[in-house]
């Protein structure tokens, strides 16, 4: 069902653009999280779920490097044509704080679409159950993935975790799409009190037999735990990784993680061979 592990995006690779994009809207979803809507069809029309962009954050060469951000939603006009896309950002440091200060009309330089996308079944493949498991701002790429899966008639279910209720992301997106959502919070302020695997595992136990595919994005320990659950259940899992990035283009070799390679391992670039990897290919340590 899946292409061979590590095979990269299933879509023919689309050209990468570097464009000055106008900020249409900045919408806060919590005190530390916000959505940025950018105008411009080029990247939006050609991207696939799981891909990302490298964006300036506003300063003119300060901070020096662009920041990698997943493509969150594709914005469309009444004809359904892509007019832009959005990013879902959590403030964690200086760059994301500067991004939060942007105003509508400001211009960001955006490079993309970059990296591999989630690999979804070829059209025509019998419908399966697709389980999206996410933590914190790792939720960003999943609404777009859900859209694509639903369009092909698959059933989709979301497991959303966060530190606390305020920081739960994308729950409304999933509800709008009609995707059932279960939530967990580390502090028990909403849903299951504990980690997201605490809702995923019971679900897997209780579900009927049949093909299922797991997708995960979030903090490393969370993805590692999902990997353990998936392995135990014998289900395939695609994980989307983060790593410090300078170029996003595969040139600087800064973003590497260890992937299995023959009997050993080798460093592969998250921006190029990833960010989406087959979890069995990853050297979890």
């Amino acid at each position: 069902m899946l292409p061979p592990p590590g095979a990269g995006a299933i879509l023919p690779s689309m050209p990468i653009h570097d464009l000055p994009l106008v900020l249409r809207q900045l919408r806060h979803v919590s005190s530390q999280q916000f959505v940025l809507e950018l105008e411009g069809p080029e990247i939006a029309a050609e991207c696939s779920p799981g891909q990302f962009v490298m964006t300036t954050v506003g300063g003119d060469g300060d901070p020096l490097l662009r920041r990698p951000m997943a493509i969150y939603r594709v914005l469309r006009d009444e004809n359904g044509d892509a007019t832009g896309f959005s990013m879902l950002v959590e403030v964690v440091g200086r760059g994301t704080a500067m991004l939060q200060q942007r105003q509508p009309g400001d211009v960001l330089n955006v490079l993309g679409p970059l990296g591999t996308s989630f690999r979804i079944p070829e059209p025509g493949t019998p419908a399966a159950e697709h389980l999206l498991v996410m933590g914190g701002v790792g939720s960003a790429p999943f609404p777009l993935l859900a859209e694509d899966l639903l369009r092909q008639g698959h059933s989709v279910r979301a497991f959303v975790g966060a530190r606390t209720a305020d920081l739960l992301l994308c729950v409304d997106d999933f509800k709008e799409l009609g995707v059932p959502v279960e939530v967990s919070t580390d502090d028990g302020t909403r849903g299951h009190h504990g980690f997201v695997t605490g809702i995923l595992e019971p679900y897997l136990m209780g579900r009927e037999e049949g093909p299922a595919v797991l997708y995960a994005c979030g903090p490393l320990p969370m993805m590692h735990a999902v990997h353990a659950v998936a392995t135990a259940a014998g289900l395939p899992l695609q994980v989307s990784f983060e790593a410090p990035m300078a170029c996003g283009l595969g040139a600087c070799l800064s973003c590497v993680i260890k992937l299995r390679d023959g009997d050993g391992w080798s460093y592969r670039r998250v921006c190029q061979e990833g960010p989406v990897f087959d979890s069995r290919e990853v050297v979890w340590e």
Binding site: P15, I16, H17, D18, T56, G61, D62, P63, L64, L65, R66, N109, L111, A243, P244, A246, C247, L249, G250, A251, C252, L253, S254, C255, V256, I257, S266, Y267, Q272
Partner: protein, 311 residues
């Protein structure tokens, strides 16, 4: 104002026997093997592409984290990860050659023998314009002393590689020295055909929360706009002691800094870290340079080289 494509301005420069379309190259380690930027930059327009440092064998490189951002700069400790000279020749070079791209192979080793090995392997290679010797590497045969910090070692490795290859040889100097002019003289004595100035400055940062170095390998090389004034000074110092062609490298982020390098005496420049955050800069600089020369009434960019006045 003349247009950017004004063909009446000649941008070609000679680095010894190598004629470059224009003086804007991209620096080793910051442009991959070229193909990574093919969607964004017409590789064929660049003065040249210096590829990621090649070694005899595949190198896995250092543990991550490998980069850290600093004020107007970044630290890297990639650890010279590369595909190895064989894979370069079979997988990377052929398509670049077909496109007519000017390719310079940056090479390194852990001993004089390793350097010579890479150079020999590249010697016959069709489509290579020159070798660039990265001597900012520890010599494991001599207690780890850095080739680029010691004039004698610099001369020795330069001479050995020169003897092993018929390709023009550029030697890339390290800025982490008391007198870079001594290293320039040593490289020239070893037979260098040109000097690339500078490689990264040594630096480190610490993650205060964990009280660990930010980079897994503790130290890294500082690059980016922050180092520009140091790089310009060092090109000036090198120019004082040699008439070899010089490639100015360090912190280029704008035409103004390209011009500064040329004015102090660099014959060409290499854009490095800026490729990461402004991937089309190198191509734009070519247009801007042509336009600037036109506006200044220069017919040939070489007229600008080494025109620094004295106050």
């Amino acid at each position: 104002m003349r247009s950017a494509s004004d063909s009446s301005v000649s941008l070609a420069v000679d680095i010894g026997s190598v004629r470059l379309r224009n003086p804007i190259l991209v620096a080793s380690g910051t442009f991959g093997y070229g193909s990574e930027f093919a969607d964004l930059v017409d590789l064929n327009r660049l003065g040249g592409i210096v590829v990621k440092g090649l070694s005899l064998h595949v190198e896995v490189g250092n543990n991550p984290p490998r980069i850290a951002e600093t004020s107007s700069g970044m630290l890297n400790s990639i650890g010279l990860q590369n595909v190895g000279v064989e894979a370069f020749l079979t997988e990377k070079l052929p398509s670049l050659r077909r496109q007519g791209v000017c390719v310079v192979a940056n090479i390194w080793g852990r001993s004089v023998e390793e350097y010579v090995g890479v150079a020999e392997r590249l010697d016959g290679a069709e489509g290579l314009a020159a070798l660039e010797l990265n001597i900012s590497c520890p010599n494991i045969k001599q207690g780890g002393i850095n080739f680029g910090k010691d004039p004698e070692l610099t001369e020795r490795v330069t001479a050995a590689v020169k003897a092993a290859s018929s390709l023009p040889l550029w030697v890339k100097l390290s800025p982490n020295v008391t007198e870079i002019s001594e290293l320039a003289v040593a490289a020239e004595a070893g037979g260098a055909d040109a000097l690339s100035v500078i490689n990264t400055l040594r630096g480190m940062t610490v993650d205060v929360t964990s009280r660990l170095p930010t980079l897994a390998s503790t130290f890294g090389g500082l690059s980016g706009p922050a180092i520009f004034p140091v790089a310009l000074y060092m090109v000036h110092e090198v120019r004082r002691v040699t008439s070899l062609p010089v490639l100015g490298i360090g912190g280029i982020d704008s035409l103004d800094r390209v011009l500064q390098f040329l004015i102090v005496g660099a014959n060409a420049v290499q854009v490095g870290t800026a490729n990461f955050y402004d991937p089309t800069l190198s191509a734009r600089l070519i247009d801007e340079l042509a336009e600037w020369c036109g506006d200044e009434g220069l017919d040939d960019v070489n007229e600008l080289v080494g025109t620094l006045g004295v106050r």
